[in-house]
Subunit: 416 residues, 2 copies
């Protein structure tokens, strides 16, 4: 008999029919004699409705030290409702089940309301309940901060709740049920050759999450890696008794058939700013990036190259959603920085190849560059990590590049 943590996202509990469907997955584990903790998100759309109410009431004011506390009390109610409804459905079906709110567990967080981090989950209360055969339905996304206030973990926080519960309860499995049947080698909307991966390493999943694959929240993967949680992504949109292997996220040693590259990702939320002819003096670059950091702009790839006339061209990428926010600060600091011209560009995307196999294999980068060169795709910027190579290219080549790379690294279906 195992301990199993299950997590169901907003689309999986969108209405009572879907909640009843999800209950069947929970019953299936319980019927096999497992101890079950299931954590749920708010019904799809509910969090947006609650956030809109808060915004109508007035955005939290940074000048107040209670920033976000009341927002959290409002928004956390969505998960409260879903958790109790799922418990009610299970009771109605003859199972012993109860809902657990963050404060009842208690799931302790810091006081960064709206984006709180989990500090501790004393396992006693939940352990006692599930050891006695009761199914525990935990409201995801929420915990309790100091002074007994409700705190939420930020968007996607229910993934983190699930992994943290699995770590605290030393669960045998943490199954994240979602609206796709696993993690794919690339976006199936771009190429039909994309295939579900049986296994991925934590590191690969982490790179994929931070490169915009929305299937798991980055923090939940970090936490799973830190505590060695046996994580799996699978579908809640199939019959409960269907074959549903999903994708297992695990340690490198547990990935038997290792590919050099496991995934090709595409991020469209990219933009680029180039500052032309910046005087070639110490401190200019520092000035630019301090200014942006001060205003909360997340800069990614940076390239500095000699300008045609004098000085240097400094070019960097940032999320497309930050572009309109960043440009005015740079323009108002034009004299101070001393650049000649600012060029902003939205029509770019980032394509990345990810794989732990890169560590021990050479030639991954040259395959990437050759493949793109063959298609006459110009590379603007390059950045790498130990297990990832990202390139910045013109948006019009996005799908072409993904398909070409997916094939080049042998990821197409039916290829070994």
């Amino acid at each position: 008999m195992a301990r199993i943590v299950m997590k169901f996202g907003g689309t999986s509990v969108a209405d009572l029919d879907r909640i009843r469907h999800v209950a069947a997955f929970v019953r299936r584990e319980a019927d096999q004699g497992h101890s079950v903790v299931a954590t749920v998100s708010a019904m799809a759309g509910e969090t947006n409705r609650l956030v809109a109410l808060c915004e109508e009431a007035g955005p939290p004011d940074p000048a107040l030290d209670v920033r976000g506390v009341e927002y959290d009390a409002v928004v956390s109610s969505g998960e409260q409702v879903t958790s109790a409804l799922l418990a009610l459905v299970l009771q109605k079906q003859g199972y012993r089940a109860r809902s657990w709110q963050g404060w009842q567990i208690p799931l302790q967080t810091d006081s960064a309301h709206g984006r709180a981090r989990i500090q501790d989950i004393p396992p006693q209360n939940l352990s006692d309940a599930i050891d006695q055969g009761e199914i525990a339905i935990v409201a995801g996304f929420q915990g309790i901060a100091k002074a007994d206030r409700i705190a939420t973990l930020g968007r996607g926080g229910s993934d983190t709740t699930a992994v943290a519960l699995a770590a605290s309860l030393q669960a045998d499995r943490c199954d994240i049920y979602t609206d796709v049947d696993g993690v794919y080698s690339t976006d199936p909307r771009i190429t039909k050759q994309a295939h579900r991966q049986d296994r991925l390493t934590y590191e690969e999943m982490l790179e994929m999450a931070s490169l915009g694959a929305k299937v798991l929240q980055t923090r939940s993967v970090e936490l799973a890696m830190a505590y060695g949680v046996n994580l799996r992504v699978l579908s809640s949109f199939v019959a409960p008794d269907a074959l549903n292997p999903g994708t297992v996220i695990c340690d490198e040693e547990e990935v038997l058939e290792q590919k050099i590259v496991s995934a090709v990702t595409l991020s469209r939320d990219e933009s680029r700013i180039s500052l032309l002819a910046v005087p070639d003096e110490p401190g200019r670059a520092a000035h630019i990036f301090s200014l942006l950091a001060e205003h909360g702009v997340n800069v990614d790839m940076i390239i500095q190259s000699p300008a045609r006339t004098s000085g240097a061209n400094i070019s960097f990428t940032l999320p497309a959603s930050d572009l309109d926010h960043a440009v005015p600060y740079l323009e108002s600091a034009k004299a101070l920085i001393g650049y000649d011209r600012l060029v902003a560009d939205r029509d770019i995307v980032k394509v990345s190849v990810i794989g732990v196999g890169m560590r021990s294999h050479t030639g991954v980068a040259s395959t990437m560059f050759n493949t793109l060169a063959e298609r006459k795709i110009n590379i603007h910027n390059i950045s790498t990590s130990e297990i990832k190579i990202s390139v910045l290219i013109d948006a019009e080549y996005a799908e072409l590049a993904v398909r070409a790379l997916h094939q080049a690294y042998g990821l197409d279906k039916g290829v070994a």
Copy 2:
């Protein structure tokens, strides 16, 4: 500087505009230096939405010992949202305010989920907060039962929350804001001569509440009477600085200008069952009313009279909503009870006159009977208490009777 408890019902917090309006009432008290605790209901319609979700999930099963616990977790979320939104609005307006859920206070209840009774409210936490100048916004209708589970107080429970808070905090005033400007001498939809009462005694208000005046929940009045809470009913649908005296509910000694009769009430939720020719033997009546009590039917006025042929006719009133529930039980026990015929009647109403002055004045009943007799209104049943006389009459005479009695007891406007 006084301690003031304020309560705002569902229509008073129906949307953000109304919540902002309510905030103005709260600010007004705070600006005068008072310590303020405001308790709120769910936004109008929200509780019904949440109850519907629970009913779709499956009605609570009496066979389960966790009956209603999950229902309470769902339904209490409505007040959680409103309390936090009002706190947010006040913060945005530069006031120190925070929301309090039942479990944070803690407002301790018994474990009769869905209709829990308040057991204790340790005043320390709220006292500390308001003494430091923070406005406390309390989620109404909810508390915490044993094992840290959320419990709700039943429909209208926010009135009870307000009065219990006032008792616990020894508040100087408990102001119940609603969508009418006070308690009327009778329903203003029946006669334009109805007038708002300046003062009513607890006993009068209690009779009015149990006779169907929906302005205050019966339990809240009982509690106010037991603890001597200085209660007031007033409107939230006027400008915050408007003259808004409302109706004060207080001890008899504090009602200066006492009328013999203060109010005429009409209850339409009445029906009558007559069992004809019940054998005149000991135990028959006991059998009838035990049967009804077992099935949760609330019987009110009972009359037994000799039948034309032999035995007795037993006739009693019950809420109209219980009639269809009660009749089958009586019909299936026909042989046991031994009656000849069952007659059910829905077209009846109960008209009552209420006033503490009755205790010291004679002739109140005869005025009532004479007034009705003059209008040729036949009285089916009569019941009395120390401060109330109720008669059962045909529904078609309902408004005529109310208007005639309102005038007869000098309650019409402009009459002393």
